[in-house]
Symmetry: C2
DNA sequence: ACATAATACCTCGCCTGTCAAGGTATTTCA
DNA sequence: TGAAATACCTTGACAGGCGAGGTATTATGT
């Protein structure tokens, strides 16, 4: 399995919101952007991506509309809502906390000279 | 819900292995250690903890034995195996990668002067 | 002309990890 | 005496990730 498969679980929504924070976009392009941002090391699986869109829209964090391109495949665009902006900010803060916690919990533990 | 509940998902096994890396211990005490290491900010849920023990033992990463205390509740001790040590090292490396990736993916994106 | 790849979307159903809820037994302490 | 702490455990539900499969359009190579 590709590196970090499990570890990103739970961050999917925030990652998508972060992409949309800089402007409306659509599924395929968001995934390209993620891939580019991680030097081809990571991308969301399509099923994961579209599941997340449904979830985020239901939560009121994003809104969607069909693009009006006259050629090429149709695209469903998404835009972030105010609630989505707030959720993103919260997710970033949570991440900072979790980041520190996990780092500490994976750090080698020393228990020298300790009795039971 | 307590902060960072979801975000630590997937790190449980590594956290436990890391605790055992400094010496044999048992469930209840491991959780106390985790709580202490995070300044009371985090602890594993009991169900999660014991589920993880089963998983880790089945994977051959830990071994268990009953303590021989003559008083108090019985304790099941766990010790980390060589395979467990390797798994821990791998998990730490993976975490480093994931940490950087996630950080980058939650970082505000700038797309100035961009068309479509 | 025809096949393949790339773009772009989608759903179904399985798997795995988390955890609320419930349970057991012992010891300590007010 | 009875609550809280120590210490273990299982069951069943739930949620998120994703493999597999599907549709439709356009571009590209041969």
């Amino acid at each position: 399995m590709s590196i970090t498969a499990d570890l990103i679980r739970g961050h999917t929504d925030a990652i998508i919101l972060n992409q949309l924070a800089s402007g409306d976009s659509y599924g395929y392009r968001i995934n390209l952007a993620i891939r580019a941002a991680t030097e081809e090391k990571y991308a969301l699986k399509e099923a994961t991506l579209y599941t997340a869109f449904r979830r985020l829209e239901e939560a009121g964090y994003i809104r969607s509309y069909w693009g009006d391109e006259e050629s090429g495949a149709r695209r469903r665009y998404y835009s972030i809502t105010n609630a989505g902006q707030e959720a993103l900010a919260a997710a970033r803060a949570e991440w900072q906390t979790a980041d520190r916690l996990i780092g500490r919990l994976l750090e080698p533990v020393t228990r020298e000279g300790e009795t039971l």
